[in-house]
């Protein structure tokens, strides 16, 4: 479509020139991608095949040891499964709490909409570290929730953080703005007149939602879920701070191996696995989009 439109607009331009122009136009972004993405990933892949001594010193020789370890040690399979399962849980929870907010935002208008949008986006102005510390203040044994519960007569504090619960709560809130914005972007097809039409034809509000609103918002749901999943799999600060050293995820293990144990090849191997997980998520996303037409 676009190519033929270009040809129509430039009928006399020689073909070669057009090609040269396209190459010229693509050159900057290719260079940026090459330097900013391809080279670091290639470097990472190379580090994963380097030999390292147990003290952390790299010998400069090549070795498959880390890949062999990761494939044969059940701990790393468990790590992979843990990461995927935890990230899927977080994605689902984020979707459930964000969807109504996004739908309401989509339907609101004027000043109110602007105020709500600012409220949704404003958490992004704070770093995840600060927000995680905020959650520590809320979830700790003497935090807001436990103090409230104990005032109501519960005995003993509930263990809300330094475990998987804390990580899921913290990450769900931290990733909500991304999900809401992605949902809003995907709500483009959602037209209030379609809903009105369904209602006029006698559909109950639930039926309107189930048969009209939800199917039309599926592209937004797919986009938001992809974004949230990818961010959840790669986040390590919040799991580190709220996990209490009990929650093992791919990203926290990459951090530990690179920064604490000084095993760069193992950290690089696990990073490549994270990239593969991203690749699978992207493939599933594009399949879902295709099936939605």
């Amino acid at each position: 479509m676009t190519a033929s439109a270009t040809h129509a607009a430039l009928p006399e331009a020689p073909k070669l020139d057009g090609r040269a122009l396209i190459v010229m136009l693509l050159l900057p972004i290719t260079a940026v991608n090459l330097i900013g993405f391809i080279l670091p990933v290639v470097n990472l892949a190379m580090i994963s095949f380097m030999e390292v001594r147990s003290t952390g010193a790299m010998t400069g020789n090549w070795s498959f040891a880390k890949w062999q370890l990761v494939v044969t040690d059940p701990f790393y399979w468990e790590l992979l499964w843990n990461s995927v399962r935890t990230s899927l849980t977080i994605t689902l929870l984020t979707l459930l709490v964000s969807y109504p907010v996004a739908l309401y935002l989509h339907r609101s208008s004027g000043m109110w909409r602007s105020i709500l949008l600012v409220m949704v986006i404003s958490p992004l102005l704070l770093s995840a570290v600060v927000r995680t510390y905020g959650w520590i203040a809320i979830l700790s044994d003497r935090g807001l929730i436990n103090n409230g519960l104990m005032a109501l007569g519960f005995d003993g504090p509930l263990r809300l953080m330094f475990n998987l619960t804390g990580v899921v709560i913290g990450l769900t809130e931290i990733l909500m703005p991304y999900m809401i914005l992605a949902l809003l972007a995907g709500f483009g097809k959602l037209d209030s007149r379609v809903e009105e039409a369904a209602a006029t034809l006698g559909a109950s509000p639930f039926r309107v939602f189930w048969r009209v609103v939800l199917p039309l918002s599926l592209p937004g749901i797919a986009l938001g879920s992809l974004l949230t999943f990818v961010l959840a799999v790669s986040s390590f600060i919040t799991p580190k701070l709220l996990g209490g050293g009990r929650v093992f995820l791919l990203a926290t293990e990459v951090y530990d191996q690179a920064i604490v144990t000084l095993d760069w090849p193992l950290a690089a191997t696990l990073s490549i696995i994270v990239l593969v997980v991203f690749g699978v998520a992207l493939t599933i996303y594009s399949r879902v989009l295709k099936s939605l037409g």
């Binding site: 001594r53 147990s54 003290t55 952390g56 010193a57 790299m58 701990f75 700790s140 044994d141 003497r142 263990r159 330094f162 475990n163 580190k240 701070l241 996990g243 209490g244 050293g245 009990r246 093992f248 530990d256 690179a258 920064i259 604490v260 144990t261 000084l262 095993d263």
Partner: protein, 347 residues
């Protein structure tokens, strides 16, 4: 006359230029960020610059030794760092990779004055500070100070214990001390008795990842007891008005060693050498110990008794000997045991 004044002016200009050039000598010293940075600049770097007006020292802060070695690896072709202060096991890895230049007594006589345990075979640098593991506690929660690591196993400490877990070297030190106390097999036996001795402590642990450090939750009362490094504990004890207190446990303590190294290929090698010699001198060692309570590595340093009593120097009989380089070799196996046998007890 005119010629003479011209000559004078030229000479003055030349002197000015040369002194300007001398002042332009700059070295970059890489070490820890935070408390260490503040205190080290005041206690060592500023006096050094006063004594050597020709040398400007830039402090390059890094969050950890591993982050430092990352920088050095990236700069290997053209080093921008001249001197590094980092943990001994990481310094060993750096030496093996040829990142550091060996120090020798002929060009640096001050090395002769260092304690024998300040030098390590196969490590290019030498020890510049000794720290040690301490039991730290909230003084409101413990009106009677705890003396033993087993205080962390008592019912009163349920959910109130903070320990930076293995592979952090604070967790590793704890493991070694408990192993030694229980007649364990040491590094060859992967500290088996230490792992066993963690069993009654682990269920009480609130977090194995106190961030950014172990001291803040104890000061805040979110936790009441744990283990940490002496130097930082002493400073935090001061700044918290005694809320946090530290004690060498009856089971013993273990040294953590920071090594100072010259970077191979440094463009200001002479100035860097001068700085390393100063950092190891009795004067600088005294000043930093009195400022941050790291034990000195120079035997000639005359330290204020008030400060030295807050280090492990007078408790050497309680220090469990640790071969950090041997420990580094089995660290992944220790992490594995820790994950399988200690962490599950604390869920």
């Amino acid at each position: 006359m005119q010629n003479r004044s011209l000559a004078l002016a030229a000479t003055a200009l030349a002197i000015g230029l040369s002194s300007g050039m001398a002042r332009a000598q700059e070295i970059n010293v890489m070490a820890y960020t935070g408390l260490f940075q503040d205190r080290y600049i005041k206690a060592v770097i500023e006096p050094f610059q006063k004594a050597n007006p020709g040398i400007k020292v830039n402090y390059v802060p890094q969050p950890s030794s591993a982050a430092m070695i990352g920088q050095l690896r990236a700069q290997k072709a053209a080093p921008q760092t001249d001197v590094v202060i980092m943990d001994v096991s990481v310094a060993k890895a750096g030496t093996d990779e040829g990142l550091f230049k060996a120090l020798d007594e002929n060009s640096m006589p001050v090395l002769k004055d260092l304690y024998p345990n300040a030098r390590f075979p196969g490590v290019a640098g030498v020890a510049v500070t000794f720290d040690n593991l301490v039991l730290i506690y909230n003084s409101d929660a413990y009106p009677t100070p705890p003396t033993s690591l087993l205080a962390m196993a008592e019912p009163a400490a349920r959910g109130k214990v903070v320990i930076p877990g293995v592979p952090d070297i604070q967790g590793l030190s704890l493991l070694m001390i408990l192993d030694k106390k229980n007649g364990g097999p040491g590094v060859e036996g992967r500290f088996e008795k230490g792992i066993e001795a963690m069993a009654p402590i682990a269920p009480n642990v609130q977090t194995w990842e106190p961030k950014p450090e172990v001291y803040a939750p104890i000061i805040a009362g979110q936790a009441t007891i744990g283990v940490g490094w002496n130097a930082r504990a002493q400073v935090n004890s001061e700044t918290s008005g005694g809320k946090l207190r530290a004690v060498i446990p009856s089971e013993g303590t273990a040294f953590q060693v920071n090594v100072i190294s010259l970077v191979e290929g440094s463009k200001q090698a002479e100035a860097a050498r001068k700085f390393v010699a100063y950092a190891l001198s009795p004067e600088a060692q005294k000043s930093f110990t009195e400022s941050m309570f790291y034990a000195p590595t120079n035997s000639k340093a005359q330290i204020d008794p008030k400060a030295i009593n807050r280090t492990a120097v007078n408790f050497l009989d309680r220090v469990v000997p640790v071969d950090w380089i041997a420990v580094a070799r089995v660290r992944d196996q220790l992490s594995d045991q820790w994950r399988r046998r200690v962490l599950p007890l604390s869920r």
